[in-house]
Amino acid sequence: MAPIEQSESPAEEPLVEETLVEEVSIDGMCGVY
């Protein structure tokens, strides 16, 4: 059996920059208690 070649992936960079502020949408929640 041929050895499975594992491709060497480069160092993974963070795909998403961590944000310090996150906005939350609360539209449509009128009357929700």
């Binding site: 920059e17 961590e18 944000t19 310090l20 502020v21 996150e22 906005e23 939350v24 609360i26």
Partner: protein, 108 residues
């Protein structure tokens, strides 16, 4: 690397970028129309005018926002909160966003 950026005032409201009028060299404060509720993860922020809810995701950012009124400019508030220099650009971007949505404002 020069990071001096003159505040640009204008009436155009281009979406996607930070408030062009945000000048971290000016004294700022948390808007009186905003309620800030500290939480273990940071804080909840509610703007009574825009009815917008936001999360401040680090206690350090909460400290910066809360301390704005006690410092002569934003840079001083950021430094006083102990933000590492490498993280300050990210904090300034976040503060520019908070200025754009009215959470913080220049104080007289």
């Amino acid at each position: 690397m020069s990071t001096d950026a003159e505040p640009v005032t204008g009436t155009s409201s281009d979406a996607g970028s930070a408030d062009p009028a945000f000048d971290p060299g000016l004294p700022h404060r948390c808007s009186p129309r905003v309620a800030l509720r500290p939480e273990p993860f940071g804080a909840l922020v509610y703007h009574f005018g825009t009815r917008r809810l936001s999360f401040l995701k680090t206690p350090q950012l909460v400290e910066v926002v809360s301390g704005l009124e006690h410092h002569p400019d934003v840079h001083s508030a950021v430094a006083a909160a102990g933000v590492e220099e490498a993280q300050r650009p990210a904090y300034l971007r976040a503060l520019a966003g908070l200025a754009a949505n009215g959470t913080i404002e220049p104080r007289p």
